[in-house]
Amino acid sequence: MEDKKKKNRIKMREQTPQARIQNFMEVPYGYTPNEAVEEASRCLSCLRPACRNGCPVEVDIPSFIKLIKEGKFIEAAWKVKEKNALPAVCGRVCPQEIQCESLCILGKKGEPVAIGNLERFVADYEASEGEIQTPEKPKVTGRKVAIIGSGPGGLTCAADLIKSGHQVTLFEALHKPGGVLVYGIPEFRLPKTIVEREVEYIKKLGVEVVVNAVIGKLYTIDELLNGHGYDACFIATGAGLPMFLGIPGENLNGVYSANEFLTRANLMKAYLFPEYDTPVKRGKKVAVFGGGNVTIDTARVALRLGAEKVYLIYRRSEEEMPARKAEIHHAHEEGIEFMLLTNPTGFIDDGKGNICAVECSKMELGEPDESGRRRPVPIKGSKFQVEIDVGIPAIGTRSNPLLLHTVPDLKLNKKGYISAEADTGMTSKQGVFAGGDIVTGSATVILAMGAGKKAAKSINEYLKWKYWDFKR
């Protein structure tokens, strides 16, 4: 009995697939305090805990789990927050299975401790207890830092810098702060009230958040550094330029980039139309293209907007899908139809400028390509059509040149992302640091947060000496 308990983690209860595809509410309900204590008790409190090494922001995992065991939930939340300003977010969207949890010793024989679930629990618990504690105000340094972009990278950097006593302004192009957390990741995976809560916390720490500020247009980086008196800038503008398939018919009505579809649905709340003004086409038969997390999020949103049929069309096999296994599982459970080894070759016009079908080719896997995955090649004479009224390429994003074009002395790499030192975020331009997706290309919330943390540290150093030595 004891052994069995140790082997399997406490499952989080969740909405049934039948129920949840009818609404936009979060899928898992979260742990109860008892469940959290029980799950935390599975932790062996290893002498040399490996889990910590798997956390890009170095959360003291064993200590916070120990506090949960002892029923000290608020203290556990503070422990997490020493390193991670966004625990309720990370508990929900981090790929723990390839980070901390992959190193948990229990994983060798059974399931690792559900570190992500526990992180989520303590953050939610603290929030449900009302007043969230803020640390004591630090001594004011008189230095000013501008942060461009309010995604996880920008938010983390802002939180760390304000704790060092600098004056911090966070500039965001959209009307709401949060980056991908508000415009991309859907409500049912990350409720927007949670992002708001985290942003409120950062404001309470003293960060000034300026929305509707498109940097490059409203102010340039040079104006911020010179005219506006900022001593340093951190650029965390994400990788927000959508890629299209480049096939005929892609501009027909009913074809959306994943960015547009998700922005309409999440940020603009088109799922509440007409209470909210922004419309989105509610397709009856929807196809999403790609194999990543964004593809799956898009498919699941389409389903919740009332689609009778949602196809996920991917040119390789399920093995090669970059999406998290848990997400693939959710998609299967919800009845999304996977059309694997299938490649779209054109969208078909209904004669009125709307899409009515997609033409596809069947594929087979050939030799491995540079990514190490087997390259899909089309099978001759295998073309067929699938009837759809909404088609959504979700095949990735690139670097948005809007801001970068206005900073000619900022070195970019071949792909158009900012060249920045991984450990410090330093760029080729004095006083300018960068991190997150705008440096790495689309990655993860926690990696952007890690970059924000490292940049905050080196900005602190820089503000002391104003010394610049970029070696790349």
Partner: protein, 282 residues
């Protein structure tokens, strides 16, 4: 929050707002646009910056009441507030001394053509302007346009004011007779811009148009505004809004503008009904 400091009804359907937005005014140039969102539930819509006043710290915009958002906007008054104003967006118009230019503004497009005509005049060009609308009540800024033009031609479809014709008729005459014309600028409904381009192409005169596709973010992030120019996909919000009209696929633009026709109709009707109820209840 952005305050409406001045409101003026320019015609039956066209309203002018001067909005306090100091930092945007500082950076605005002819040809730029901005995006606004009225309130929490609102959608983001692009509007042209028809004028700006750096001293007063304001931008001026002109809109026609077409859908729900613009009708709602029309009910706001001086001293009222708009929750979000984002800009200046888009590339500014390319202004230099081309010699003689013709500026064509159709309907509510008269507003965005005005700052461009003014800038061309200031840059030393001879400016001939043509403004047109369906009927007399929809023409506005005739004086303002005249002040920045060497010659102004007014047309209405029904002949209730100025010449009874569409804008392309006088344009064709001008291009036929005046070989010194080096550039045409056209802003207005897509169908008007399309025919202006067909006209000017006959005479091989370069034509710039300003495209008003459906937008969400206005920063190149979503692709909602995409159009085809010379067979390539372009994003009107960041690559434009000004493009070489002879290369634009206007039929695609018009099809894409109709994408949400049903939703727009539904939302407008619902809005007008609730607005009537509210008014009646008071």
């Amino acid at each position: 929050m952005f305050e409406i400091v001045k409101k003026e009804e320019l015609s039956d359907a066209v309203t002018l707002f001067e909005i306090e937005a100091e930092d945007i005014a500082k950076k605005a140039k002819a040809g730029n646009f901005f995006i606004l969102k009225i309130n929490e539930q609102g959608e983001r819509i692009p509007l042209t910056i028809a004028d700006f006043d750096r001293d007063r710290g304001t931008i001026t915009t002109v809109f026609q009441k077409i859908g729900k958002t613009t009708h709602h906007l029309g009910t706001l008054n001086e001293g009222g507030f708009i929750s979000d104003v984002i800009g200046p967006l888009g590339k500014p118009a390319h202004i230099e001394d081309f010699g003689t230019v013709v500026c064509v503004g159709g309907g509510v497009g008269i507003a965005p053509v005005y700052p461009i005509a003014k800038a061309f005049k200031e840059a030393g060009n001879t400016v001939i302007s043509i403004i047109g609308a369906r009927t007399k009540n929809l023409i506005f800024w005739e004086d303002k346009m005249r002040a920045v033009s060497d010659d102004l031609i007014v047309t209405t479809d029904d002949g209730s004011h100025g010449r009874k014709s569409v804008v392309t008729v006088p344009l064709d005459e001008l291009l036929r007779t005046d070989k010194s014309i080096n550039l045409v600028i056209a802003i207005g409904p897509a169908i008007m811009m399309k025919f202006v381009c067909i006209t000017s192409e006959k005479y091989n005169v370069k034509t710039l148009v300003s495209l008003n596709s459906i937008m969400v973010d206005g920063t190149g992030m979503c692709g909602s505004c995409r159009i085809e120019v010379g067979g390539e996909i372009k994003f009107a919000c960041v690559d434009g809004p000004e493009f070489d009209g002879h290369k634009v696929d206007f039929d695609l633009l018009m099809a894409r503008q109709r994408m949400y026709l049903d939703e727009e109709k539904f939302a407008l009707q619902r809005y007008l009904e609730s607005y009537k109820e509210k008014k009646g209840g008071k």
